[in-house]
Symmetry: C2
Subunit: 159 residues, 2 copies
Amino acid sequence: MSSDHASEIAETTPSKQCLRLWLRMLRATRSIEGDIRELLRREFDTTLPRFDVMAALYRKPEGMMLSELSRELMVSNGNVTGIVDRLEDDGYIFRGTRNGDRRTSHISLTGNGSETFEMWAKAHEVWITRRLRDLDEAQTADAIEIMKHIGQSAEGVKR
Amino acid sequence: MSSDHASEIAETTPSKQCLRLWLRMLRATRSIEGDIRELLRREFDTTLPRFDVMAALYRKPEGMMLSELSRELMVSNGNVTGIVDRLEDDGYIFRGTRNGDRRTSHISLTGNGSETFEMWAKAHEVWITRRLRDLDEAQTADAIEIMKHIGQSAEGVKR
Protein backbone atom coordinates (compact mmCIF):
# COMPACT_ATOMS: atom_id res chain seq x y z
CA MET A 1 0.00 0.00 0.00
CA SER A 2 2.77 2.46 0.77
CA SER A 3 3.97 2.65 -2.84
CA ASP A 4 0.43 3.50 -3.95
CA HIS A 5 0.35 6.25 -1.38
CA ALA A 6 3.65 7.70 -2.55
CA SER A 7 2.56 7.92 -6.18
CA GLU A 8 -0.75 9.52 -5.21
CA ILE A 9 1.03 12.17 -3.20
CA ALA A 10 3.34 12.92 -6.15
CA GLU A 11 0.38 13.44 -8.52
CA THR A 12 -1.36 16.11 -6.49
CA THR A 13 0.45 19.36 -5.94
CA PRO A 14 0.21 20.67 -2.42
CA SER A 15 -0.41 17.78 -0.04
CA LYS A 16 1.22 19.60 2.88
CA GLN A 17 -1.06 22.56 2.16
CA CYS A 18 -4.09 20.26 2.15
CA LEU A 19 -3.04 18.89 5.51
CA ARG A 20 -2.49 22.41 6.83
CA LEU A 21 -5.99 23.41 5.72
CA TRP A 22 -7.50 20.32 7.32
CA LEU A 23 -5.81 20.97 10.66
CA ARG A 24 -6.96 24.61 10.57
CA MET A 25 -10.53 23.55 9.74
CA LEU A 26 -10.49 21.08 12.58
CA ARG A 27 -9.12 23.58 15.06
CA ALA A 28 -11.60 26.32 14.05
CA THR A 29 -14.56 23.94 14.14
CA ARG A 30 -13.61 22.39 17.48
CA SER A 31 -13.00 25.78 19.00
CA ILE A 32 -16.43 27.07 18.00
CA GLU A 33 -18.09 23.80 19.00
CA GLY A 34 -16.42 24.06 22.40
CA ASP A 35 -17.84 27.56 22.89
CA ILE A 36 -21.31 26.45 21.79
CA ARG A 37 -21.28 23.46 24.15
CA GLU A 38 -20.28 25.68 27.04
CA LEU A 39 -22.81 28.41 26.23
CA LEU A 40 -25.66 25.89 25.75
CA ARG A 41 -24.83 24.40 29.12
CA ARG A 42 -24.53 27.73 30.87
CA GLU A 43 -27.45 29.60 29.30
CA PHE A 44 -29.94 26.80 28.74
CA ASP A 45 -28.64 23.88 30.78
CA THR A 46 -28.63 21.76 27.65
CA THR A 47 -26.17 19.93 25.38
CA LEU A 48 -25.07 20.02 21.75
CA PRO A 49 -26.57 16.60 20.91
CA ARG A 50 -29.92 17.77 22.31
CA PHE A 51 -29.64 20.97 20.29
CA ASP A 52 -28.86 18.97 17.13
CA VAL A 53 -31.85 16.66 17.61
CA MET A 54 -34.20 19.59 18.22
CA ALA A 55 -32.78 21.44 15.18
CA ALA A 56 -33.37 18.47 12.90
CA LEU A 57 -36.96 18.11 14.14
CA TYR A 58 -37.61 21.84 13.87
CA ARG A 59 -36.79 21.65 10.16
CA LYS A 60 -39.47 18.95 9.74
CA PRO A 61 -42.71 20.17 11.29
CA GLU A 62 -44.42 17.01 10.03
CA GLY A 63 -42.00 14.97 12.13
CA MET A 64 -39.90 12.00 11.12
CA MET A 65 -39.02 8.43 11.94
CA LEU A 66 -36.33 7.88 14.55
CA SER A 67 -34.22 6.02 11.97
CA GLU A 68 -34.42 9.00 9.62
CA LEU A 69 -33.23 11.28 12.41
CA SER A 70 -30.27 8.99 13.15
CA ARG A 71 -29.27 8.97 9.52
CA GLU A 72 -29.45 12.74 9.32
CA LEU A 73 -27.35 13.22 12.43
CA MET A 74 -24.93 10.44 11.46
CA VAL A 75 -25.09 8.81 14.89
CA SER A 76 -26.28 5.39 15.94
CA ASN A 77 -29.96 4.74 16.65
CA GLY A 78 -29.02 3.79 20.20
CA ASN A 79 -27.55 7.20 20.98
CA VAL A 80 -30.43 9.10 19.44
CA THR A 81 -32.95 6.95 21.32
CA GLY A 82 -31.51 8.02 24.68
CA ILE A 83 -31.55 11.70 23.75
CA VAL A 84 -35.08 11.47 22.35
CA ASP A 85 -36.25 9.68 25.52
CA ARG A 86 -35.03 12.53 27.68
CA LEU A 87 -36.44 15.22 25.38
CA GLU A 88 -39.78 13.39 25.55
CA ASP A 89 -39.61 13.37 29.37
CA ASP A 90 -38.96 17.13 29.23
CA GLY A 91 -42.09 17.61 27.12
CA TYR A 92 -40.21 18.82 24.04
CA ILE A 93 -40.87 15.82 21.84
CA PHE A 94 -44.03 13.91 21.02
CA ARG A 95 -43.60 10.27 20.10
CA GLY A 96 -46.05 7.97 18.40
CA THR A 97 -44.95 4.35 18.66
CA ARG A 98 -45.90 1.69 16.14
CA ASN A 99 -46.36 -1.90 17.30
CA GLY A 100 -44.91 -0.92 20.67
CA ASP A 101 -41.39 -0.77 19.21
CA ARG A 102 -39.78 2.48 20.30
CA ARG A 103 -37.11 2.29 17.60
CA THR A 104 -39.77 2.61 14.90
CA SER A 105 -41.25 5.70 16.57
CA HIS A 106 -42.51 8.67 14.65
CA ILE A 107 -41.39 11.80 16.49
CA SER A 108 -42.04 15.52 16.25
CA LEU A 109 -41.57 18.63 18.38
CA THR A 110 -44.35 19.63 20.77
CA GLY A 111 -45.45 23.29 20.84
CA ASN A 112 -43.27 23.79 23.88
CA GLY A 113 -40.35 22.05 22.13
CA SER A 114 -40.73 24.28 19.14
CA GLU A 115 -40.81 27.48 21.20
CA THR A 116 -37.86 26.34 23.28
CA PHE A 117 -35.82 25.54 20.22
CA GLU A 118 -36.57 28.96 18.70
CA MET A 119 -35.10 30.55 21.81
CA TRP A 120 -32.00 28.33 21.65
CA ALA A 121 -31.58 28.97 17.92
CA LYS A 122 -31.72 32.75 18.34
CA ALA A 123 -28.99 32.66 20.96
CA HIS A 124 -26.97 30.19 18.87
CA GLU A 125 -27.09 32.57 15.92
CA VAL A 126 -25.77 35.38 18.09
CA TRP A 127 -22.91 33.22 19.40
CA ILE A 128 -21.90 32.10 15.91
CA THR A 129 -22.09 35.65 14.60
CA ARG A 130 -19.86 36.82 17.44
CA ARG A 131 -17.24 34.25 16.44
CA LEU A 132 -17.40 34.94 12.69
CA ARG A 133 -18.24 38.62 12.38
CA ASP A 134 -14.58 39.70 12.02
CA LEU A 135 -14.58 38.25 8.53
CA ASP A 136 -15.61 40.70 5.85
CA GLU A 137 -18.48 39.76 3.56
CA ALA A 138 -16.28 38.70 0.65
CA GLN A 139 -14.21 36.41 2.89
CA THR A 140 -17.36 34.90 4.33
CA ALA A 141 -18.78 34.29 0.86
CA ASP A 142 -15.48 32.73 -0.30
CA ALA A 143 -15.30 30.53 2.74
CA ILE A 144 -18.89 29.35 2.26
CA GLU A 145 -18.13 28.33 -1.34
CA ILE A 146 -14.93 26.52 -0.37
CA MET A 147 -16.58 24.63 2.50
CA LYS A 148 -19.53 23.74 0.27
CA HIS A 149 -17.14 22.38 -2.31
CA ILE A 150 -15.23 20.35 0.29
CA GLY A 151 -18.43 18.97 1.80
CA GLN A 152 -19.61 17.85 -1.61
CA SER A 153 -16.33 16.34 -2.79
CA ALA A 154 -16.88 13.26 -0.63
CA GLU A 155 -15.84 10.17 -2.53
CA GLY A 156 -18.40 8.29 -0.54
CA VAL A 157 -16.18 5.93 1.42
CA LYS A 158 -18.30 2.79 1.84
CA ARG A 159 -19.39 2.22 5.41
CA MET B 1 -31.53 38.42 27.39
CA SER B 2 -33.56 38.39 24.19
CA SER B 3 -33.43 42.19 23.72
CA ASP B 4 -29.62 42.09 24.08
CA HIS B 5 -29.53 39.42 21.44
CA ALA B 6 -31.67 41.45 19.05
CA SER B 7 -29.46 44.53 19.28
CA GLU B 8 -26.30 42.47 18.80
CA ILE B 9 -27.70 40.91 15.67
CA ALA B 10 -28.59 44.34 14.29
CA GLU B 11 -25.03 45.65 14.83
CA THR B 12 -23.24 42.98 12.84
CA THR B 13 -23.99 42.81 9.16
CA PRO B 14 -24.51 39.30 7.87
CA SER B 15 -25.60 37.05 10.73
CA LYS B 16 -27.42 34.65 8.38
CA GLN B 17 -24.23 34.45 6.32
CA CYS B 18 -22.23 33.67 9.46
CA LEU B 19 -24.65 30.89 10.29
CA ARG B 20 -24.46 29.59 6.74
CA LEU B 21 -20.65 29.50 6.93
CA TRP B 22 -20.76 27.71 10.27
CA LEU B 23 -23.14 25.02 8.99
CA ARG B 24 -20.95 24.52 5.91
CA MET B 25 -17.81 24.26 8.06
CA LEU B 26 -19.50 21.74 10.29
CA ARG B 27 -20.74 19.66 7.38
CA ALA B 28 -17.35 19.68 5.61
CA THR B 29 -15.45 18.82 8.78
CA ARG B 30 -17.84 16.05 9.84
CA SER B 31 -17.82 14.58 6.37
CA ILE B 32 -14.00 14.38 6.25
CA GLU B 33 -13.85 13.12 9.84
CA GLY B 34 -16.35 10.40 8.94
CA ASP B 35 -14.14 9.28 6.05
CA ILE B 36 -11.02 9.31 8.22
CA ARG B 37 -12.71 7.28 10.97
CA GLU B 38 -13.83 4.70 8.44
CA LEU B 39 -10.46 4.50 6.68
CA LEU B 40 -8.53 4.23 9.97
CA ARG B 41 -10.80 1.39 10.99
CA ARG B 42 -10.60 -0.39 7.67
CA GLU B 43 -6.90 0.08 6.88
CA PHE B 44 -5.35 0.02 10.34
CA ASP B 45 -8.07 -1.34 12.63
CA THR B 46 -7.75 1.78 14.77
CA THR B 47 -9.81 4.80 15.82
CA LEU B 48 -9.62 8.58 15.52
CA PRO B 49 -9.08 9.15 19.27
CA ARG B 50 -6.15 6.70 19.16
CA PHE B 51 -4.77 8.49 16.11
CA ASP B 52 -5.10 11.86 17.87
CA VAL B 53 -3.27 10.62 20.98
CA MET B 54 -0.45 9.13 18.92
CA ALA B 55 -0.20 12.33 16.82
CA ALA B 56 0.13 14.51 19.92
CA LEU B 57 2.85 12.25 21.34
CA TYR B 58 4.66 12.05 18.00
CA ARG B 59 5.04 15.83 18.05
CA LYS B 60 6.74 15.59 21.48
CA PRO B 61 9.56 13.02 21.27
CA GLU B 62 10.49 13.89 24.88
CA GLY B 63 7.03 12.79 25.96
CA MET B 64 4.55 14.59 28.16
CA MET B 65 2.41 14.32 31.24
CA LEU B 66 -1.00 12.71 30.83
CA SER B 67 -2.66 15.93 32.04
CA GLU B 68 -0.83 17.92 29.34
CA LEU B 69 -2.06 15.48 26.71
CA SER B 70 -5.65 15.83 27.95
CA ARG B 71 -5.43 19.59 27.78
CA GLU B 72 -4.05 19.49 24.27
CA LEU B 73 -6.76 17.14 23.05
CA MET B 74 -9.49 19.00 24.95
CA VAL B 75 -10.91 15.81 26.43
CA SER B 76 -11.21 14.67 30.01
CA ASN B 77 -8.33 12.88 31.74
CA GLY B 78 -10.58 9.87 32.21
CA ASN B 79 -11.11 9.40 28.49
CA VAL B 80 -7.45 9.83 27.64
CA THR B 81 -6.42 7.39 30.38
CA GLY B 82 -8.45 4.59 28.81
CA ILE B 83 -7.00 5.21 25.36
CA VAL B 84 -3.45 5.45 26.73
CA ASP B 85 -3.94 2.20 28.69
CA ARG B 86 -4.86 0.36 25.51
CA LEU B 87 -2.03 1.92 23.49
CA GLU B 88 0.34 0.84 26.26
CA ASP B 89 -1.01 -2.72 26.08
CA ASP B 90 -0.39 -2.65 22.33
CA GLY B 91 3.22 -1.64 22.92
CA TYR B 92 2.88 1.79 21.31
CA ILE B 93 3.24 3.87 24.45
CA PHE B 94 5.74 3.79 27.27
CA ARG B 95 4.51 5.02 30.63
CA GLY B 96 6.55 6.05 33.64
CA THR B 97 4.34 6.38 36.70
CA ARG B 98 5.21 8.65 39.61
CA ASN B 99 4.18 7.65 43.12
CA GLY B 100 2.11 4.85 41.61
CA ASP B 101 -0.53 7.32 40.45
CA ARG B 102 -1.35 6.56 36.84
CA ARG B 103 -2.95 9.96 36.32
CA THR B 104 0.40 11.67 36.89
CA SER B 105 2.10 9.42 34.34
CA HIS B 106 4.77 10.65 31.99
CA ILE B 107 4.14 9.06 28.60
CA SER B 108 5.95 8.83 25.30
CA LEU B 109 5.81 6.75 22.11
CA THR B 110 7.87 3.57 21.94
CA GLY B 111 9.96 2.92 18.81
CA ASN B 112 7.21 0.68 17.56
CA GLY B 113 4.60 3.34 18.35
CA SER B 114 6.57 5.93 16.47
CA GLU B 115 6.98 3.75 13.36
CA THR B 116 3.33 2.76 13.46
CA PHE B 117 2.21 6.35 13.69
CA GLU B 118 4.41 7.34 10.74
CA MET B 119 2.61 4.74 8.65
CA TRP B 120 -0.81 5.99 9.80
CA ALA B 121 0.19 9.62 9.21
CA LYS B 122 1.34 8.95 5.63
CA ALA B 123 -1.96 7.31 4.78
CA HIS B 124 -3.87 10.08 6.57
CA GLU B 125 -2.10 12.69 4.46
CA VAL B 126 -3.10 10.85 1.29
CA TRP B 127 -6.74 10.64 2.41
CA ILE B 128 -6.90 14.33 3.30
CA THR B 129 -5.22 15.29 0.02
CA ARG B 130 -7.76 13.22 -1.89
CA ARG B 131 -10.57 15.14 -0.24
CA LEU B 132 -9.04 18.60 -0.70
CA ARG B 133 -7.05 18.40 -3.92
CA ASP B 134 -9.89 19.81 -6.08
CA LEU B 135 -9.23 23.22 -4.57
CA ASP B 136 -6.71 25.30 -6.46
CA GLU B 137 -3.71 26.62 -4.58
CA ALA B 138 -5.10 30.14 -4.15
CA GLN B 139 -8.36 28.80 -2.70
CA THR B 140 -6.46 26.55 -0.34
CA ALA B 141 -4.28 29.45 0.82
CA ASP B 142 -7.35 31.67 1.31
CA ALA B 143 -9.17 28.97 3.23
CA ILE B 144 -6.15 28.40 5.49
CA GLU B 145 -6.03 32.11 6.35
CA ILE B 146 -9.76 32.30 7.03
CA MET B 147 -9.76 29.19 9.23
CA LYS B 148 -6.70 30.45 11.09
CA HIS B 149 -8.46 33.72 11.73
CA ILE B 150 -11.61 31.98 12.96
CA GLY B 151 -9.65 29.63 15.21
CA GLN B 152 -7.87 32.58 16.78
CA SER B 153 -10.91 34.81 17.23
CA ALA B 154 -12.06 32.79 20.24
CA GLU B 155 -13.35 35.11 22.91
CA GLY B 156 -12.29 32.55 25.43
CA VAL B 157 -15.63 31.55 26.88
CA LYS B 158 -14.84 30.65 30.48
CA ARG B 159 -15.09 26.95 31.18
